[in-house]
């Protein structure tokens, strides 16, 4: 009994000591009072130097926290108890957050740098008139492949994935919209198609791909492709940039039939405390010089047309990540199809996964 009491007592004392230490360290670094800005962003999705620069310019202290999926971010913000001033969700998550009333409108008069954003990235279906969100990065969905392992095969068309030479050599990202979307695209239908016949046709088509599919995986896909575990992978362009960084033998392509284009936008969640600093930060990130520095560091495509001009030619001219307009014209944003249709997409996806080799 005595030992148990002692054990509990020491745990409690240790906890209090840590709490005190944290608050002490925070106050040492100036994280006290009102002038802080809490940013909730994807992991490794900003150049940390820019945070230091922002702190220096404005005197605001930044608390930077990260998440690894839109769903996790959504749940955390919806639950409350957080004080994020800025979050960076993707398109469909923004539309969901709007529906659930989790966002504050953005005061555009406080963001003069909005003028630098390419108009083609503004006023999109997930946030008409950009009432709640400002573009941060954008990208596509495409195919990463290892030219050595596929002996010179190219992937201009989705159809190339169905080649019998690729038996057991394709990794797909474990996500219903991307995979069903690929099926629909390969048949020439829209990614947002809700016609039951088209969907069934896409499922049939995907089932024929099964012998070539080695696995459907999550974030591990980056590690697996970089380690040459498979020759071909269906991935987001952002992940592709990381994979190509790790293993420069690999290449990335967006097939000609079209694909998905996605956006990560900055928003101000309802839980925000420091609206002034949040607007300052958004404006700061849209400054062409800062946006260019960030794009160079992160490796994703920037929607900032002035920043694009500042980027070195080998980045801004890379058509794999900044596709020319013939390609971008064919790209589609995911519409929010509604819960019911999304459930149906997922069920088709389950059916595809269960289709045995």
């Amino acid at each position: 009994m005595k030992q148990i009491v002692r054990l509990f007592a020491s745990v409690i004392i240790a906890a209090f000591a840590l709490m005190y230490l944290t608050s002490y360290l925070n106050s040492e670094q100036g994280y006290t009072g009102g002038n802080t800005l809490t940013i909730y962003n994807w992991g490794d999705y900003i150049d940390e130097e820019l945070i230091a620069k922002f702190e220096e310019e404005t005197g605001v202290k930044v608390i930077y926290q990260t998440f690894d999926s839109n769903e996790a971010m959504l749940t955390k913000i919806a639950q409350g108890g957080t004080t994020y001033d800025i979050a960076v969700p993707s398109d469909y998550a923004i539309s969901k957050m709007r529906e659930e009333d989790l966002l504050l409108p953005i005061d555009k008069s406080k963001i003069p740098n909005l003028q630098y954003i390419d108009p083609k990235f503004m006023n999109l279906s997930f946030d008409p008139d950009n009432e709640y969100s400002v573009p941060y990065f954008w990208g596509t969905v495409g195919i990463v492949f290892n030219p050595e392992l596929v002996d010179g095969k190219t992937f201009e068309s989705w159809e190339d994935l169905w080649s019998p030479d690729l038996r057991n050599d394709i990794l797909l990202v474990d996500s219903a919209r991307e995979v069903i979307g690929m099926g629909l695209n390969s048949l020439g239908y829209s990614l947002n198609d809700t016609n039951e016949d088209h969907l069934q046709e896409a499922l049939k088509k995907l089932n024929q791909l099964t012998p070539n599919v080695k696995a459907l995986v999550g974030d591990e896909i980056k590690m697996l492709l970089a380690n040459e575990e498979a020759a071909v992978g269906l991935v987001w362009s952002g992940d592709a940039a990381e994979i190509l960084d790790e293993n420069d033998k690999l290449d990335f392509v967006v097939p000609k039939e079209g694909s998905n284009v996605w956006f990560d936008n900055m928003v101000i969640p309802k839980t925000a405390n420091n609206l002034e600093a949040a607007h300052q930060f958004i404006n700061f990130m849209l400054d062409p010089e800062n946006a260019a520095q960030n794009a160079e560091y992160v490796g994703y495509a920037t929607p900032n047309s002035e920043a694009l001009k500042l980027l070195p030619e080998d980045i801004s001219g890379d058509e794999r990540f900044y596709p020319p307009s013939e390609v971008t014209d064919k790209l589609e944003v995911y519409d929010n199809l509604g819960k019911k249709m999304l459930a149906h997409y997922n069920e088709l996806f389950l059916e595809f996964k269960m289709h045995s080799k």
Partner: protein, 268 residues
């Protein structure tokens, strides 16, 4: 006075059961009668009896059966050997030790071991067998699951064997039974309770495995657990997820009743 103190002792137990057993089950049943738009309906149940979910149920059962069978095949001889060993508590501890490591870490370790350029394939190549696909196969899925579940199978069997009176074996041998007959007629029947609770402890959780199906089987094995995860996290169709969960609860109840008995020697 006496009954009153006894009732006071009951409070934590009852509170625990109500909060963490009864309430969740009631909630699951409640949600299972709601369709995706939040209306009351039986649609989820009707939906469950479509080929997609029936196939999934079938494959879940098949893999759970395989996992249980192989766990038993490995665990029983091991437990038997352990009871004969000199430092049995130490050996037991060594076998249980990996279960203190987080499941995800172990799964990631296996990705490395089983990968095309991993240790297992390096070994195969050195043996002259060439590189094989190990990761993302049925084999790797069953292997890793068995590895994870072994302690749950081993402990009850080990306890049952420990409790067995060794003079019974001597008596059996003295009366002329062969080693095999002794095992079949004396040892195994006396430890059957341990085997049963071991099987329950493996079969039931393996019906709803989900993380390993993605990491190790690359989603080429789909269990009911995978579907529940998807419905709750991705589609947010809580009703359908809850319906599958209700079926799992029912199946588990049936298994408990069928294999259930005087639970002697079944301490886990």
């Amino acid at each position: 006075m006496k009954t009153r103190t006894r009732n006071a002792y009951l409070i934590p137990y009852v509170a625990w059961i109500v909060l963490f057993v009864v309430a969740p089950i009631v909630l699951i049943v409640y949600y299972s009668f709601q369709d995706i738009e939040g209306n009351w309906s039986l649609a989820n149940y009707k939906h469950f009896f479509t080929p997609v979910y029936l196939n999934m149920t079938l494959s879940s059962f098949w893999y759970a059966l395989l996992i249980t069978l192989f766990s038993l095949l490995v665990a029983y001889p091991t437990a038997y050997l352990l009871t004969k060993a000199k430092h049995k508590r130490l050996w037991l501890l060594l076998i249980i030790l990996p279960s203190w490591v987080n499941l995800l870490l172990k799964a990631y370790a296996f990705i490395g071991l089983f990968g095309t350029y991993g240790f297992a394939n390096g070994f195969l190549e050195a043996m002259g067998l060439g590189r094989q696909q190990i990761l993302f196969t049925d084999f790797s899925f069953v292997f890793v699951s068995v590895y994870i579940f072994i302690p749950f199978m081993l402990l009850p069997i080990f306890n049952a064997l420990e409790e067995m009176n060794p003079s019974l074996i001597q008596a059996s041998r003295d009366l002329g039974a062969s080693a095999w007959t002794t095992f079949r007629r004396v040892v195994f029947p006396l430890t059957i309770d341990g085997v049963k609770s071991g099987c329950q402890a493996v079969f039931i959780p393996s019906l709803s495995l989900f993380m390993i199906t993605r990491l190790i089987a690359g989603n080429r094995v789909i269990t009911l657990g995978t579907a529940i995860e998807q419905h709750f996290l991705v589609t947010q169709d809580w009703g359908m997820g809850a319906t599958i969960a209700v079926f799992l609860v029912l199946v588990m109840a049936v298994i408990m009743i069928v294999t259930g008995q005087r639970r002697k020697g079944a301490r886990v």
